[in-house]
Each structure stands twice: as C-alpha cells, then as structure tokens.
Amino acid sequence: MSASLALPDYRTQSPAVAERFQRLKERPVVLDVRNLSKRFESASGSVLALDRVSFRAYRRELLCVIGPSGCGKSTLGRIIAGLDTCSGGEMLLDGKSIDGPGPDRGMVFQNYTLFPWLTVRRNVMFGPEVSRGLSATMAEEEAQQWIELVGLSRFADSYPHQLSGGMKQRVAIARALANRPRILIMDEPFGALDALTRAQMQSYLLQIWKNVDVTIVFVTHDLDEAVYLADRVLVLDAHPGRVRELMEVPVPRPRTREQFTSPEFVAARQHLEELIHPPLQVQPETLPLGRMTVVGDDVE
C-alpha cells in the first residue's frame, strides 16, 4: 500500500480537466435514466438484477459502465437499447420517454452481429435504408462516408467472413453510426478481441468519437479500458446491481496510451479496483491445500 501513498487522490483534477468537466455538465442531458429496476423472474424465484439505477449522460460524453460480473451492466445496456424491458423506472432521451428499440439508440455487440449475406457497404447501408427511408443511392453515399471514417474503404465490397475481428467491429460501429443515433451503446465490444487488437480498437474508437456528435455508453469489465476511454465511469455493485459511484476520470484529453502509467491514470484505476474487487472473503493462506506435486520442486 506504500505505492498508493505516492499517488494523487483520484478526485484531484488539473485545471484543464476540471474545466472540461465544467463544460461537459453545461451541455444538454441526452440520456436521463431514473430509478431503473430490472427483476428477472424464473422458476427458482426472482432476482433483482438492477436496483433503482439513476444517472445522466451529457451530449458527446463517453460514459463507461463497469462492475463485477453479475452486476447487470449488460442488462442495463440492453434496456437502454430497448432490447430488454425494465421492471420499473424510466428513461428519457433528449427529455422524451423511450420504450422499445429505435434508431435513435445504436448498439454495438460483442459478437459483431454483422449480416453475413451483405457486403460491408450494404451492412452499413442497412440502417439508413430501413429507418431513415433513404433511397439506395443516398444510403450508399451515406455509407461511404462512414466506411471511410472507420478506414475500411478498400473492404467495402468484402463480406464479413473475409474480415478480421477488429475490422468486423469497425464495420459494426460504422453501421450503428450511419443511422445517426443520439447515443451509441457498446456492450463489451472489444471483449472478443486479442489484447493488441483491443488496444488498437480503443484508439480507433476515440478517434471516431472525436469526429462524430454522439454520446457513448460503453459497457466493459476492463478497468484500463474504462479509464482510458471514459469521461466518467459508472460503477455498479452486484446482487443487486446498484450505482456504487459515478467517477470522473482525472486523465486529461486527448488520451494516449502513454498515460497508462501517469499518476492520475493509476490513481483512477486503483480506485476502481478497490470499488470492484471487495476484500477476499477467504484468504489464500487459510485454504486447506493438499499437495499435488510429485517431487519437492517448490515454486516459491
């Protein structure tokens, strides 16, 4: 714990960061979640997955949602997207109550969910065509911009199975954004990617977000990812899922990967870690370990 003594408090913000948060909070509220609850009924009884969750996201904010497994963070994302129903509470998008899925809330899933029978271009055209009723030519023009934005122009006529995981997820992002949603919900979007590609995708996402007027709700279990990407991090508790804290990330923008070792970054990360990983209930030393080794080759 001596390291933590050297770290700044995660609440200390440099003047630039403080000013940024000031400006952020002056922007209009895009998403207002009020006392959202979700109860799952099953044969063995009912489980309260989300318990009166409330938070707001401002325009062009990047809000990360983290929590231990089973805290209902994915459920929260799905409810906002309209794919699950809530058991109580309400959600306002730009001040209007929302119910059911709609093109104003785009979603990016962990397993890409690209339409395998459509080329990259036609995947991206899907939203503009079905929800905005654009003609094929206009949808194609629209799609072209988004494909260029995610840097996949050369692959516009490829089918999804010809792309790598990272490229598929970029197509999925382009497809969601081509619909011009007010918010983009991302449910552990980079969870299926290898570490290198994930790092690359995180930087891509920041790059894309810089050029697009969209609020992002990013669900993840990766603390580094949350601190690296987010303006604010919504920390949920498990069983039942409650809001533990809404943390402001003290790391200045633009973010770079070098900041991973900066004092603010480490402090923020460590704070999240303490929130999420409660002290171990069973100390490893007290486990009644039997020896399973053959020779006395001790590892310590």
């Binding site: 093109p103 979603m107 969910t113 339409f115 029978w117 939203g127 692959f155 999804p160 990272g166």
Partner: protein, 366 residues
C-alpha cells in the same frame, strides 16, 4: 518412442471432425463407391462365395433340363447322380447366381443398351421416356409443395402465433403415410399424373413445413436484435433479416427434402395408371430382365446424386457470402478442390491479419 510414432501416425490418419486434405477426400469418395462395387463383383464373379444355382450348358440325358436353363445347384447334383447311376450322358453346366442378382457387367450393359432397346410392346415407353415422366412427377410435386411449404415454414419459424396455428395439425398429419391417400387421390384427381403429384406433395409438404420452421427458428437472435437497434420494422425484420438469414440453410434443407420426395416416387407411380420408371421396372421384372431392373434403380440413384451435385454447385454460386473454407456437408463437395487450394489457404488465413485479407482480396478480384 515407437509408441509415440504410432500415435502420431494414427492421429494424422483418423480425424475427429475438421476437414480432410483434398487428395484424401477424393480417395475416400472413390472408395465409398468402389467398396460396395467390389463386394458385388466378388459375389458375382467368385463362384466359391455363393453361386447356389447352375446354368445348364448341355442337358445330356437329364429328364427335365434344357440347354441354358438356370437350375438349383442341389437339384442339378441329384439329377446327375441319377444319370450316373443309370450310366447315361451327364449334364454339364457352370455355377451361377440366381437371376435376381445379375453381375455388374450385365447391369452396366443394360444401362447402356437400355436407352437403345425399343420397348417389348409398342405401347410401352422407352427407358428415357419412363425416366423423364418420373422426373416431371417429382418436379411438379416438389414445386407445388415448396411454393406453399417454404413461405409457410418461414412464417411458422418467425411468427409464434402462426406456428401455434399451423404446427400441431402438421405434426399430426405428417404421421399419416402418404400412400394411404392413394385411393382418395385417385377418386378426386383421376387416374393419371395428378394423383401421383398429390402423393409426392403429401409426402413432402408436411415434413417441409416443420423442417423449414425449425431452421428458421435457429437464426442468430443477435442479428434480429442488431436490426431492431437499427430501426427495422417488423416487415423489414422478416424480409431483410429472417429470410436472407436462413435462406442458405433452407437451401440445404431443400436438397435433403428433394431426396425424400424421390422416395415417394415409386409408391406414387403405382397409383392409378402405373407409369414412369416404376412401370418400367415392374415390366422388366415381369420379363425377368433383372439387369434392367438394377440399371433402372442405379439410374434413379445417379439422377438423385447428379441433381444434388448440381444444386450444391448452384448454391455456391447463389450465396457468395458463404465462407468457401467452411465445413462442407456433402461428400462430393471436395472433388475439384485441388485446383482452388491456394484460394482456400488464403481465405483461412484471412481471419488473423489485415495484411492477409488485403492479399486475398487482391487475389479474389484478380
């Protein structure tokens, strides 16, 4: 060490799941046909295996043999014993198989000459006419069934209410044997082709609805969710996601179902005025021309297999989004693989790096 080597060899030979190298596929495919053929040849050409009959060459003093007749082996021996006792002229002959098991070469000959031999009676059809008639029966039965069955199956799969309204009855009906409707079909539809098409329809339709409904239900729900968040209406979900999402699997189902339709053909053609290949087979059996019977059966198999091959080819043309390196379901898919081996290798490498995909794309467009 020796054991290690052996395990390694065994691992490379017998594979659990996965795909085989193209050469091995080809060899195994050939063997799947050569093995039964070899068995048949052995029984036909090696007298010591079976050959219970004797083909009489010279009747000699035998009382009831005639030259060229096929008689039971035991009876032949008995008769010769009797002749020997009477010090007469022995009958000669060679051991042979019963008439219902012609050797491969006779069937092959019948296969070739079948198309050139005019029918025994002028009002009977030629072999090719009989076959063509059968094909048209199958075609119309299957088309009529599919025109109703495929849309209904997709609707059942996509809309739970439609499924509830339809499937319980279909479940019940599919257990009713199609031939049971023969008499009814004749009474309603006459004695010519219509009742036969109806039997094919009854045999195919009810299975088709259920199979296609189940295939439709297996669509990745993630695709539907993605489409919903993109603002798809229910109509768009059905026509722009469900239908294209399951069309490839339905196509495969249809290939299997077409095979089932063929199995109803023989029964269907017995109804009313017997026709087509069934009539041909029955006629040849009456003339005891079993080589022609076998030839007709082989022809049905060849037509079925050929159709499936063509449909498989067509499928790859129709659905360019299917990964070419993906699992191949049918045995003949790999026949011409070697020529494309490079493309497959590039495609399988695609998933790993972007550079590889660029290359492969270049190769694909070139």
């Amino acid at each position: 060490m020796d054991g290690d080597k052996q395990t390694a060899r065994r691992r490379s030979r017998v594979r659990v799941l996965g795909t085989l190298p193209p050469r091995r596929r080809l060899v195994l495919t050939l063997f799947s046909f050569l093995t039964p053929l070899a068995l048949w040849s052995a029984i036909s050409y090696l007298p010591f295996i079976w050959h219970p009959m004797v083909r009489v060459a010279e009747a000699g003093d035998a009382s009831w043999f005639s030259d060229g007749e096929l008689v039971d082996g035991d009876a032949f021996a008995e008769e010769n014993a009797r002749i020997r006792a009477a010090d007469g002229h022995l009958a000669t002959g060679a051991r042979a198989n019963p008439v219902f098991l012609p050797p491969p070469h006779a069937v092959l000959r019948a296969l070739v000459t079948g198309f050139t031999t005019p029918p025994a009676r002028p009002d009977e059809p030629w072999l090719h006419q009989a076959l063509w008639h059968s094909i048209t029966i199958i075609f119309w039965g299957f088309v009529v069934s599919s025109v109703v069955g495929v849309p209904l199956g997709i609707l059942c799969g996509a809309l739970p209410a439609t499924a509830r309204l339809t499937e319980p009855f279909v479940e019940f009906f599919r257990y009713l044997p199609a031939p049971a409707f023969g008499a009814l079909a004749v009474a309603v539809l006459g004695i010519h082709d219509a009742p036969k098409i109806a039997i094919i329809f009854v045999g195919t339709f009810f299975q088709q609805v259920l199979v296609i409904a189940n295939t439709t239900r297996r669509i990745d729900p993630g695709l539907l969710e993605a489409a919903q968040t993109l603002g798809a209406s229910r109509k768009a979900l059905l026509f722009r996601v469900v239908v294209p999402g399951v069309i490839t699997d339905i196509y495969t189902d249809m290939r299997v179902l077409l095979g089932w339709a063929w199995t109803y053909l023989i029964v269907a053609e017995l109804i009313g005025v017997s026709s087509g290949i069934t009539f041909f087979i029955n006629q040849q059996a009456k003339y005891r021309a079993y080589d022609k019977v076998f030839a007709s059966i082989v022809l049905i198999g060849l037509i079925g297999l050929g159709t499936d091959l063509v449909l498989a080819r067509l499928g790859r043309r129709l659905f360019p989004w299917l990964p070419s390196a993906g699992p191949r379901r049918r045995l003949f898919y790999g026949l011409r693989r070697p020529a494309r081996a490079t493309g497959v290798a590039a495609a399988s490498a695609l998933d790993t790096t972007e550079a590889a995909s660029v290359e492969a794309k270049g190769a694909a467009s070139a």
